[in-house]
Symmetry: C2
Subunit: 101 residues, 2 copies
């Protein structure tokens, strides 16, 4: 799997709006053929910090996601909400194997 | 869900041994009643960096995990493999809801 953790630091006044926009994006993204999981989590000790856990079946699926209407809407909606530029970090799965995602 | 990301930085000579020990621990942990997922991922641009993505159904499940034989074996086995102390960061799920994990 091609896994990307997108770390997002949101300005405090936008936390609720960010969650709303990001749930909408995630629920649509999770339906994409090339996406195995698209989870969104919030840090317990700092409510302004989120991670989007994006699990792509192929590298092509990652590129295809960035062309979807829901991604483009999310990107533009949350642009003003960021406290700093978001950071993506790439991983591969050690456990479970691809069939477990 | 009670989600913990355990960040592990392994000494380069122990990467393969760490993967072997951690796959064994993860495959047993994933069978625990209180654990929804127990994923292990390796950073693409730095093979010495791993994250254990531990998704517990309850706080009690997290405590119970630390008493299992497979966790205790893993903890002792990997102790000498660490390049620095491992760090745990706690999260809650925004998407999907608990039923989606």
């Amino acid at each position: 799997m091609n896994i990307v953790f997108v770390h997002v630091h949101v300005r405090p006044e936008f936390v609720d709006a960010f969650k709303q926009a990001t749930i909408e994006n995630a629920s649509n993204s999770a339906k994409e053929e090339g996406i195995a999981r698209f989870d969104v989590i919030q840090q317990t000790d700092d409510a302004t910090r989120f991670i989007l856990v994006e699990v792509y079946k192929t590298a092509e699926a990652s590129a295809a996601h960035k062309e979807t209407a829901h991604y483009l809407k999310w990107r533009d909606t949350v642009a003003e909400m960021m406290a700093e530029p978001r950071q993506g970090v790439k991983y591969s799965n050690i456990f479970p194997e691809d069939s477990g995602w």
